[in-house]
C-alpha cells in the first residue's frame, strides 16, 4: 500500500511540474507577449519581488475568509442541527434554503455594499453566505441518518432528544461535517475574493483588479498563484483535521468477516 501511495504522489507532483514546464515552453516558442500570458518564471519573479507589497493583502484576504468561514460554520451548524433533528423544520425550511443557495453570490455583493459600504464587511458576508449552505446540508443529512434502532434503545432508557443529539447525532455527523468544511473553506475563499474584486481597496482580489487595469499582467498572475496556494493550504489544513477527528469513518470499511 505504501509503495502505491508514494508512486501516486510522485505522479501528482510530476503532473504539476509538467504543467508549468509546458506553459513556459509554450510562451517561449510562440513568443507570447507577457501582456497576454506571462511565463510562469516571470510570475514567480514578480511574486518574490512584490511580496512585501502583497503580504498585507494576503493577510486581509485570509482574515476576511476565516471570519466569514467561522460565522458561516456557526450559522450552518445551528441551522443544520435544527433541520436535521426536526422533520417539520426540514420540510418547512428546505424550499427557502434552496432558494437562497441558488442565488449567484456575485449578485448579492452590490446589496451588501449598498448596506455596509465597500471594504471588509461585504467580503465577510459574501464568504459567509456562500460557505454556509454545504454545512447545513451535511449536518442535516448526518443527523437524519441516525439508526432508528439505536434511537429506540436510548429513548427506552429515558434519553431526551438532547441526549441523543449529543451522544449519537453530533458525533455521527462529524465525517459529514468535516467533508463539508473542506468544501466550505474553499467557497468562503471564493466569496471573499469575489467581493474584494468588486468592492474593496484591500485584499488579493483588489490587487488583481488594480494590476489588470494597469496592464501589470505578471502581477495579476502572481495574485492568482497566491490564491491557488492559499486555497490548497486551507484545504490541506482541514483535510488533516478531518483525518485526525474522524478516522473511524474511513477505517470502518475494514470489516472482519463474521
Amino acid at each position: 500500500m505504501f509503495g502505491i501511495d508514494v508512486r501516486q504522489k510522485a505522479w501528482s507532483a510530476g503532473l504539476i511540474v509538467l504543467f508549468f514546464v509546458a506553459w513556459e515552453l509554450f510562451c517561449l516558442m510562440t513568443g507570447m507577449s507577457d501582456l497576454v500570458l506571462p511565463r510562469p518564471s516571470q510570475v514567480f519573479v514578480t511574486l518574490v519581488q512584490r511580496f512585501p507589497v502583497l503580504w498585507p493583502h494576503i493577510v486581509q484576504t485570509l482574515a476576511t475568509t476565516m471570519l466569514g468561514f467561522v460565522l458561516g460554520v456557526a450559522l450552518g451548524v445551528a441551522l443544520g442541527a435544527i433541520i436535521g433533528v426536526s422533520k417539520t423544520a426540514y420540510d418547512t425550511c428546505y424550499p427557502l434554503l434552496i432558494g437562497f443557495s441558488s442565488i449567484p453570490k456575485v449578485a448579492v455583493v452590490p446589496i451588501f455594499v449598498l448596506w455596509f459600504g465597500s471594504g471588509t464587511v461585504p467580503a465577510v458576508l459574501t464568504a459567509l453566505s456562500i460557505c454556509f449552505f454545504p454545512i447545513v446540508v451535511n449536518i442535516a443529512t448526518g443527523l437524519a441518518t441516525t439508526e432508528p434502532e439505536l434511537e429506540d434503545v436510548l429513548k427506552a432508557l429515558g434519553a431526551s432528544k438532547l441526549d441523543i443529539l449529543w451522544n449519537v447525532g453530533l458525533p455521527r455527523t462529524m465525517p459529514f461535517f468535516f467533508a463539508s468544511l473542506k468544501v466550505a473553506i474553499s467557497y468562503a475563499f471564493v466569496g471573499a475574493v469575489l467581493s474584494e474584486t468588486v468592492a474593496s481597496n484591500r485584499g488579493i482580489g483588489n490587487v488583481m483588479m488594480t494590476a489588470s487595469s494597469n496592464f501589470n499582467v505578471p502581477l495579476v498572475f502572481a495574485g492568482l498563484f497566491v490564491l491557488a496556494g492559499l486555497g490548497v493550504a486551507l484545504y490541506v489544513v482541514f483535510s488533516l483535521i478531518e483525518g485526525q477527528v474522524t478516522g473511524w469513518a474511513t477505517r470502518k470499511n475494514d470489516v472482519i468477516a463474521t
Binding site: D152, A156, G158, R172, M174
Partner: protein, 287 residues
C-alpha cells in the same frame, strides 16, 4: 460454560416464585395512522408477566410482536387499554428498560467498552457519576459483563474489528449494563448463522440466570423460544392477539442437545401448528 453470579448484581431482587407483576397489558390495542389509512397492529391484548419471567413472543410476521415490545418500553402509547409496567402506567417517559435489536448499532467511533457504557451516560443514578467513574468502576462493570459473554479483552477494540456474533454479544451487554429490571429483545439473533445463534442462546440463558431480569423476547425461531423461555405466547396474524400461552418447564441450564429430544420437538410442533392456523386464518380473511 456456566458463569458465576456477578457480585455487582447480588443486590438485585431475585423473584423466587414471587408473584409480583412486572408487565401487565389489559385490553391494549394499538392502531397506527388515522381514518382510512389506519392500520390495526394489536387488538385487545391482555398479558400478565411476573417479575423475573422469561417470556417469548412468537407468531407470523407482522403480527404485532414488536408492537408489544414498543408498548412495554413506552415507545408507543396504547390507542386503547392500559399498559402497566413495574406497577405504573407507562407514560411518555420510558422506564430504563434494556433493549436489543437484530441490528447491534454499536457506535463506530467508540471502543466496545465505551459503547456498552452508553446507557450509564443516560440513566440515573449512573448519569451524575459518569464523569467520575467512567475510567474506574463503570469500566470494570462493562468488562465484567464482556467477560460473562465470552468477550474478555475485547473492550478496547472498535466495533469494526468484531464479527457479527461478537457485536450481538456486546449488544446484550449494553442492554444489561444499567441493571435494568426488564430486558426487551426484538429478534436479537435473527441475522446470525445457526451455530453462532445457538452459542448466543446459551450466553443469554446464563445472563438471565445470573441477573434474573424480566425478559420479553420476540422471535421467529421456535427452537430459540423453547430453549430460552419459561413461557411462550403465540400470537395471531395482524392485528395481533394472543392465541396460546404455555409454560416451558425443561430444566435449566438447557442445552442445544435438549432441543432434539421428543418433549422439545413435541412442543415445537404444537407451536408450529398454532402459527400455521393463524397464518391460514389470516389468508382466508384476506380472500
Amino acid at each position: 460454560m456456566r458463569m458465576q453470579p456477578n457480585a455487582q448484581f447480588d443486590g438485585q431482587p431475585v423473584p423466587e416464585g414471587s408473584a409480583t407483576t412486572a408487565i401487565e397489558l389489559s385490553e391494549a390495542s394499538v392502531t397506527f395512522g388515522r381514518g382510512d389509512r389506519a392500520v390495526p397492529a394489536l387488538s385487545k391484548t391482555t398479558l400478565k408477566i411476573a417479575d423475573g419471567e422469561f417470556v417469548a413472543l412468537v407468531g407470523p410476521s407482522g403480527c404485532g410482536k414488536s408492537t408489544i415490545l414498543r408498548l412495554v418500553s413506552g415507545l408507543v402509547q396504547p390507542t386503547s387499554g392500559v399498559v402497566i409496567v413495574g406497577g405504573r402506567e407507562v407514560a411518555a417517559r420510558a422506564m430504563r428498560v434494556g433493549m436489543a435489536f437484530q441490528n447491534p448499532t454499536m457506535l463506530p467511533w467508540m471502543t466496545i467498552e465505551r459503547n456498552i457504557m452508553l446507557p450509564l451516560k443516560i440513566v440515573e443514578p449512573f448519569r451524575s457519576k459518569f464523569r467520575k467513574l467512567r475510567k474506574t468502576e463503570f469500566r470494570d462493570k462493562a468488562n465484567a459483563l464482556l467477560e460473562q459473554v465470552g468477550l474478555k479483552g475485547f473492550g478496547n477494540r472498535y466495533p469494526w474489528q468484531l464479527s457479527g456474533g461478537m457485536l450481538q454479544r456486546a449488544n446484550l451487554c449494553r442492554a444489561l449494563i444499567h441493571e435494568p429490571r426488564m430486558l426487551l429483545l426484538d429478534e436479537p439473533f435473527g441475522a446470525l448463522d445457526q451455530f453462532t445463534r445457538e452459542e448466543l442462546w446459551a450466553i443469554l440463558q446464563n445472563l438471565w440466570m445470573t441477573h434474573k431480569p424480566t425478559v420479553l423476547l420476540v422471535t421467529h425461531d421456535l427452537r430459540e423460544a423453547g430453549f430460552l423461555a419459561s413461557r411462550i405466547c403465540v400470537m395471531s396474524a395482524r392485528p395481533g392477539r394472543i392465541l396460546d400461552d404455555s409454560r416451558v418447564d425443561f430444566a435449566r441450564p438447557r442445552t442445544v442437545a435438549m432441543t432434539f429430544e421428543p418433549d422439545f420437538v413435541a412442543l415445537n410442533q404444537k407451536l408450529r401448528a398454532f402459527i400455521e392456523d393463524a397464518r391460514s386464518a389470516a389468508q382466508q380473511g384476506a380472500d
